[in-house]
Amino acid sequence: MIERYLVAASSYAQDIDNLILLIAVLVGFWLVLCEVVFFYFIWRFRARDGHKAEYVSGENKAHKRWITIPHLLVLVCDVFIIYGAVRVWVNVKQTLPPPDATVRVIGQQWAWTFVHPGADGKLDTADDIAKIDELHVEVGKTYHYELSARDVLHSFSVPVFRLKQDAVPGRIIRGWFEPTKTGEYSVQCAEICGMGHGLMGARIMIETPGEHAAWVAGQKPLSLASAR
């Protein structure tokens, strides 16, 4: 459904889309049913000359059935939706599969800083690569992100991943993603963060292993860059 307009480029993007589709079908059914009955009643019971309305208190069991049965069916739909939502949530937010690499994501007014592990694959070493508004990842690898904010709240949002997580000053929030499609996509800040909030977009480059290695090799290590 959403994929027609927005690529699904993470391992869990399709799960989230499917959950949204499940909800759309269930609530769509109730919405259409209610609206159809509602408009039918408005037409069917329009005022006509010499025709008096019925007296229905709705207090006896035979009448109440008309609301209690649908209402129990709504509850059944809720159970399905809760099950689907919890399953997706546990996978995306509550579990951390072992990572192939970790990136550091830092929000500040009004730019994203991404610290990539360099050739050694580890953060906090001499070959770390820090980039402003540019995140480079390799397709098919599991990444952890360490999300923090320097000043106010920000929200790390990658629509093609269907991923969103607020960045909170004073905390490091850990999460994960696994890119499944190559290409260049948008990274947003989804939490209002002041005057430049509307400018706080970054790009994510999802690369094949070869492209990614070439990109890493072409970067000057962080320590050298800052020494100059």
Partner: protein, 565 residues
């Protein structure tokens, strides 16, 4: 009864000057009018703000007629204050304060609120809060621009927001508004519980009165934590404390909990009066008894209690413990049960009716039809897994406009067109009323359906110019934004028809009798408009419930509450 007579007499002997009648009045009906017209004035400002920022979105960088260039901070201040105004200075004063003040004494059959002077004080504080809010828009640095949710640290520290004075005045205005509604709420609950006409039992109270009373209780029970939170935010802003500053041991997420602990019940605070207005109107114009009155009432109590347990669904991705999300997903989805039940009750009420599509009835029916859309789209956001994606997109924005617009705009117009003959003793024009109805409801859908779609494909909120996001600035997306903006302008223009119809009818409309809609409730048993003291010849007594329409064995298809059996 004797006491009541003495008070009514006292009112009559008292000479009323312009000031005591219109400005320092303690009459609940005058205070209701003050709230209503102040709310409508603020709605005009809030609507104008929507026009300005929608123009910027449709035509980025354009000099907006009647405003000028919209800078990024202007944009943020406009959306912030649009939200704040529409909820705190439009929905609440009109739905709760205006209708509560006007209807409670008239529908329960007493001469005024139990604390008339507290009532007057409530409006005065409310007016002061509105003035402070308007001043905050014009101070150096500009108005507060950190969204109506005011999340710190952005709202707490001027170094990040750049609006030192604007933020603080905004906060003071909101806090004063809360004080005004606490005072009003005390009055509403006390009056409804203590001053009912003899014979009016709990289950004889019209639904709209119950709804306003329950809404007041919800408000009073939920606002405390936020007032504490607001004081801490004020201290952070002004004194430099660090309640929300992690560098000094504070926590920004604390505010979010306090804010939404209030903020979610607040949705029901404004929803319930609109639901009540709708229920009463539907019964009158379908000539039907409300389906399962007692079930409906207990369902509303259930909704109110549940509404205190769902707040963190606004914070799924805010950095809360991920395990906590499950609890709030369950409670949030559960609240769909009472709300669905109410929808079924409303639909069932129409069954077997004799429906006249008068202007108030059109508004009431539109409320149900549109609110359903707002209700079901909330399920996507209450389901934690789907909210990861939808959070802070235009899907959220379209969803809550499909709830708040039916509540604050459709519900208000339903109420005004219903009780206008009682308020002013004259009819509004039905023809122009219907023109205004269609001219409002059709554009409303054309505004927000495209925004649902844009949100679904990833358009995030509170962005003043999408040309900075290549994926979101394709030509057809810009076309949808322009469509929404044009529809908004059309809708705003149609509001002039309402204003002309209202003010013209107030002075020149056809005279209305006591009970133009042939309704059962007590307000229709006194003069239109009701005199000071409401029933100068003596207060009414009640013999039955409010919804005895089309009772078998009676010639008339209505049976007023005050007519002895």
């Amino acid at each position: 009864m004797a006491t009541a007579d003495i008070t009514t007499d006292a009112h009559h002997h008292h000479e009323q000057t312009f000031w005591s009648k219109y400005v320092f009045s303690t009459d609940h009906k005058m205070i209701a009018m003050q709230y209503m017209f102040t709310g409508m004035f603020m709605a005009a400002i809030g609507g104008f703000m929507a026009y300005v920022f929608r123009m910027q979105l449709a035509f980025p960088g354009m000099e907006v007629p009647l405003f000028g260039l919209v800078g990024p901070n202007d944009y943020n201040a406009l959306i912030t204050n649009h939200g704040t105004i529409m909820i705190f200075w439009v929905a609440m004063p009109v739905l709760i304060a205006a209708f509560g003040n006007f209807l409670i004494p008239l529908m329960i059959g007493c001469d005024d609120m139990v604390f008339p002077k507290i009532n007057r004080l409530s409006y005065q504080i409310f007016l002061l809060s509105a003035v402070i809010l308007l001043i905050s828009l014009a101070v150096p640095g500009g108005g507060f621009a950190g969204a109506w949710t005011a999340y710190p640290p952005l709202s707490a520290q001027a170094q990040y927001s750049g609006t030192a004075l604007g933020s603080t005045l905004w906060l003071v205005a909101v806090a004063l508004e809360f004080v005004a509604f606490l005072l009003g709420g005390i009055n509403f609950v006390t009056t409804a519980m203590n001053s009912r006409a003899p014979g009016m039992k709990m289950y004889d109270i019209p639904m709209v009165i119950w709804m306003i009373v329950i809404a007041s209780v919800l408000f009073m029970a939920s606002v405390g934590p936020l007032i504490a939170g607001a004081i801490m935010l004020f201290m952070d802003q002004v004194v430099g404390t660090g309640f929300y500053d992690p560098a000094r041991g504070g926590d920004p997420v604390l505010w979010q909990h306090l804010f939404w602990f209030f903020g979610h019940p607040e949705v029901y605070v404004v929803l319930l009066p609109a639901l009540g207005i709708t229920a009463d109107i539907m019964c009158v114009f379908a000539r039907k008894k409300l389906f399962a009155y007692r079930t409906a009432l207990w369902t509303v109590f259930g909704t109110g209690i549940l509404s205190f347990t769902v707040w963190a669904h606004h914070q799924f991705v805010a950095g809360i413990d991920p395990r906590m999300a499950h609890i709030f997903t369950v409670t949030t989805l559960l609240i769909s049960i009472p709300i669905a039940e109410l929808c079924f009750i409303y639909i069932a009420t129409l069954y077997g009716g004799s429906i006249t599509l008068s202007t108030p009835m059109l508004w009431a029916l539109a409320f149900v039809a549109e609110f359903l859309i707002g209700g079901v789209t909330g399920i996507f956001l209450g389901a934690s897994g789907a909210d990861i994606y939808f959070h802070d997109t235009y899907f959220v924005l379209a969803h809550f406009h499909y709830t708040f617009f039916p509540i604050a705009i459709i519900g208000t117009f339903a109420g005004i067109t219903m009780w206008f003959p009682k308020m002013f003793g004259r009819y509004m024009s039905e023809f122009w009323g219907k023109v205004h109805f269609w001219g409002t409801v059709i554009p409303f859908n054309i505004i927000f359906i495209p925004l649902f779609f844009l949100g679904t494909i990833g358009q995030h909120r509170r962005i003043y110019d999408y040309t900075n996001f290549p994926e979101l600035s394709l030509p057809w997306m810009q076309d949808l934004r322009q469509l929404a903006t044009v529809a908004l302008i059309v809708m705003l223009l149609f509001q002039f028809i309402f204003l002309i119809n209202m003010f013209y009818s107030m002075f020149r409309g056809k005279k209305a009798p006591k009970n133009p809609w042939r309704a059962n409730t007590l307000e229709w048993t006194t003069e239109s408009p009701p005199p000071h003291g409401n029933w100068p010849e003596g207060l009414p007594e009640v013999y039955r419930g409010p919804y005895e329409y089309s009772t078998p064995g009676r010639d008339e298809d209505y049976w007023p509450q005050n007519v002895p059996s």
